[in-house]
Amino acid sequence: MYVYDELDRTLVIERVAEFRDQVGRRRSGELTEEEFKPLRLMNGVYLQLHAYMLRIAIPYGTLSSRQLRMLAHVGRRYDRNYGHFTTRQNIQFNWIKLESLPDAMADLASAGLHGMQTSGNCVRNITTDQWSGVAPDEIEDPRIWAELLRQHTTLHPEFSFLPRKFKIAVTAATHDRAAIKVHDIGLRLHRNGAGETGFEVLVGGGLGRTPFIAKSIRPFLPKRDVLSYVEAVLRVYNQFARRDNIYKARIKILVHDLGAEAFAREVETEWQHIKDGPLALDPAVVAEIAARFRYPDYARLGDNPPELIALRKADRRFDSWYGNAVAKHKMLGYAIVTLSLKPEGGPPGDATSDQMDAIADLADRYSFGEIRVGHEQNLVFPHVAQRDLGELWRALDTVGVATPNIGLVSDIIACPGLDYCSLANARAIPVAQELTRRFRDLDLARDLGRLHINISGCINACGHHHVGHIGILGVEKNGEEFYQITLGGRADERAELGALLGPAVPYGKVADVVEEVVAAYLELRERRSETFVETVKRLGVEPFKERVYATH
C-alpha cells in the first residue's frame, strides 16, 4: 500500500471545504451552471441522464480494505447501495445528490479518496498493471512512477486546462495488462542492452472517434528523466494541439498530423531546455516515494502446499476456479487472485455495498488488507497465501465474485451506456447481460479460451470496443439501436484495432451474431491452442463475415 503524507491529506481535505462552498453558492444561485460545471468536473461530478454521478479515482488501482469499506459506506449512505468499477481504475456512483456531495466527499477524504483527476481537460488518474508489485514478469513496481507522475500532475497549473483530457498508463511487465498502447502516453519500464532500467515512451494512442495505436517516440529514457520528458510531451501537446475542434483536440490527432518523428523532434527540442533543471529526478526523492509503498510481511512458504493439491483433486469446482482466477505470484507460496465482477446476468463492474464490505473483510483476512482494481472491471487480491485458497474461494463464492470466467467470453467489458450516460447512443449493459446468459456454459467458455468482448454505447469508446477481440459499438439509426461489430482487436503488448465485420445489426440480433462468430471460430481454428484473436489474425474477418451474413 502507498501511505499518503500530510501534504496529500491536507490537499484532499481543503478540496472538500472548497467544494462545499461551491455547492452552497450554486444552490443559492450565486454561481450559474456555466460557472459551476467546470468546478464540479474538477471533482469528478458529472450530470448524467437521471442524476449526478461521482467518479472517484483509485490511483494505480490500489485500494486498502479501509478505503473499500468507505466506498461501501458512500454507496449505502449517499447512493443506491452499489458502485460501478470503470475501465480506468475508477469507481462511479450513479445516483448521488448534489446536496449530499460535500458530505460524501468529506467521508471519502477521511480515507484518502477523492475525485480529482477523474474529469476535465487535465492529466487523468494515472493507471497501471493491477498486478503491480506482485507479478512475476515485472522488473520493478511501476506504481512508484505512477505515483511520482500523480504528484507532479495533480493541480499542475500548466496542465489543468489542456486542449482535452490526457491519460497516462505505466507498465513494467512483459505482458501489458495496462493497455498502454491506447493511452495518450504509455510508459513501458524495461531493461536496455546494458542492463539499465528505463522507459520506452509511446505517445498518441487512444480510442474514441478516431482510434490510434500509440507510436514509440523514445526506445529508452533513463528513469531520472521521466518527469521532464513527460512534461516536454505535455508542453508540445499544449502548444500545438487544436483547441478549435473538440474531436481533433487529443494528442493522437496531433501525433498523427505531425507524424511521430516530427512530434518526437519537437519533444526533444523542448526537453533539452528542461531535462537538467528541477525536474531531473533526485534518486533520494524516488527512494522516498518507493519507501511509502509498504509491502506485506510475507511468510516463508512453499508453492503448491498439500492442502491445495488435495482440494484441487477433490473438488472440480474449486479446481476450475483455481485454473481460471489464480495467477502466479512473485513470492513463493503466494498467489494473485482475481475476483470476477461479471456474474451471469450482472452488469459488468458493479459491486454492491454489502459485497464491498465483505470483500474488504476477506482482504483483511487473506490479502494483507489490500485490493486492486483492473481496467477489465474486476478486482484483485494481490497477496494470498496458497494454503488459504480453498477457504478464500468458498468465501468469495458466497459473496458472488468467484465466477471462473476471468479472461473468458463472459468476462465482458462494458461502459454504462444509454442506461446511465448522457453521451451514449445505445445501451451496453443489457447487451453484456444477454451475452453472459448465452455463454453461461463454463465448459464451452474454457474451450473457447481467451476471448475478450468489449462493448461501448457510443463512439467515445469507454468500453474499449476497438481493442476487444470482439468489439461491439452501439450507434443510433433512425431512433433505433444498432451495433457495429469488430473482430481481432487487442489491448496488450501486441495491441491492434479490430476490423469491421459488416453492416451494423439491431439490438435484438447482437447476441445471435456473436454466437455465430464464436461458432465460426470453433470451426476455423487450426488447433485448440489457437486463440480467437490469433485465428482472426490468420484469416481476417472474411470467413466470419461470410458465415454471419449468410445466416442473418
Binding site: R26, R27, G29, T32, E33, L47, Q48, L49, H50, A51, Y52, R80, N81, Y82, K97, L98, E99, P343, G345, G346, P347, D350, A351, T352, Q355, G400, L418, D419, Y420, R427, I429, P430, Q433, E476, G479, E480, E481
Partner: protein, 106 residues
Amino acid sequence: MTSPLQQKLKITGPVIVTANRLGDGAVIYRTRDGNWSTRLDEAAVVSTAPAATELLAAAVADDISAVGAYVAPVRIGADGRPEPGNLRESIRYAGPTVAPAIAIGF
C-alpha cells in the same frame, strides 16, 4: 458550446422541455404553469418552433431550479397524455432498463 437558445429548433411533432433538477439531478419537465414537475403528463406540450423557443427560453432562464434544459420529442398516447418520443427520453423517464447488481441479488 452553443447555447440551446441559439440553436435553430426544427419541430416536426409535439415536444416538451426537459432538464435535470439542480438538487438531485432528477429528470424534470417544464409545466404549463411555468414550474417543473417530475411527471411527464404535467409537461407543457407544444408543436411549433416559436412556442418551443418560448418554452425553452423560460426554462433556461430558471438556472437555479434546473440544469441543461432542452427540447425533446414526445408522442401523444391514446389517452391524450404525452409519452417519451425516443429511447433516450424513455430511459430518462423510466430509469435504466437494467437492474443493478443490488436488485439482482448479488
